[in-house]
Symmetry: C2
Amino acid sequence: MTDVNVSPPSRLAEGDSGQPARSAGAAASPPLVDIIELFFFAYRNFVSDPDEILARFGFGRAHHRVLHFVNRHPGMRVTDLLDILRITKQSLGRVLRELVDQGFIDSRAGSSDRRQRLLYVTPKGEALARDFVALQSARIERALAECGGPEALGNARRFLVSMIDPEDRGPIEKFITRADRAAEELRRLAPGPRSGG
Amino acid sequence: MTDVNVSPPSRLAEGDSGQPARSAGAAASPPLVDIIELFFFAYRNFVSDPDEILARFGFGRAHHRVLHFVNRHPGMRVTDLLDILRITKQSLGRVLRELVDQGFIDSRAGSSDRRQRLLYVTPKGEALARDFVALQSARIERALAECGGPEALGNARRFLVSMIDPEDRGPIEKFITRADRAAEELRRLAPGPRSGG
DNA sequence: ACATTTACGTCAGTCATGTTGACTTTTTTC
DNA sequence: GAAAAAAGTCAACATGACTGACGTAAATGT
């Protein structure tokens, strides 16, 4: 099973087509431990991309997450955000209040149900959210380009989806497609005032 | 499900021919934002796998990281660990002390340089570290199996490596290969009672 | 030999972000 | 009109990061 070459230094750079060694419970270390570690290091770089910008506003990574998801889903309720982030409303409350106070997020009462607070990014908030997406997208683009073929994007997406708990995938994919569709809609209706400013 | 191409599939194909929209604030969202979000959700699931076990010992994720890396690199110095984890020695100190006090990690003075504290997992610590690796490996194996072909592992590895800052890759790859080689060595010398096939 | 540097540890304080639990207000729903 | 839901708030606490200062032992350089 572990006849996957461990020694050649090029192991990481080259994809290797060795077999994954189906022995889930016990041993099976060698070929998968590196994925565990690469995932750790990659994610650490990934989330630290926005740090410098965040620091300029006195924000942390929690602010980034909140801003990102509100930007992706304008008009979302506080409860929706809690479901996505899986934190308590007390934790969210602090961060959200700062974002609202500093004019990055706007919170309006729902029209059909006035108990709800619907969350929107302000233009200022949208600009910041776009900066973050641009930063992280640049890293992903570079990575995909390094991977070569045009199938790299699909491969990465498939892998990441498969890494998610099956029971979480439905909601997450629904969330993503809905947000993408809404963004596309917006782009069609109001083309192009962006990127100029 | 995996072809969440909600928008014109052109973006990535054009990625190289067109300009990569490098300047912050340019357009270019649709196909990459989903990767950003999938990375977030996937990593969250990934790191929460060991939580239940950790809680049984009153440990947190910091303990997991320390134990993992010490297990991977027996005899590593405290400074090495600090370099890898990129935290301060004060932060590491607390966690490390708890792991030593509870008998998961052993800290011996170096023989050639007696200022050094060389870190080793105890049998108890090794068992725990192996549990964590088994848990996370199971998720990765399942994901790779879902991705289909035998090239899925290589694809994932390439993608993750490419997501890492280029200047970090050398040290990280060196670390991983060295650890793999040492582990292989150990397996050859002392074929444990544990390792299945 | 002595000064410097290195490796490690520790005290003291702070910050960011998470947690529980209890409670209120407003509004919708049954 | 009672119950439930959405949101907000207060208080207390845990974790894991941070800075800065200081101490001690051992290696190293001149």
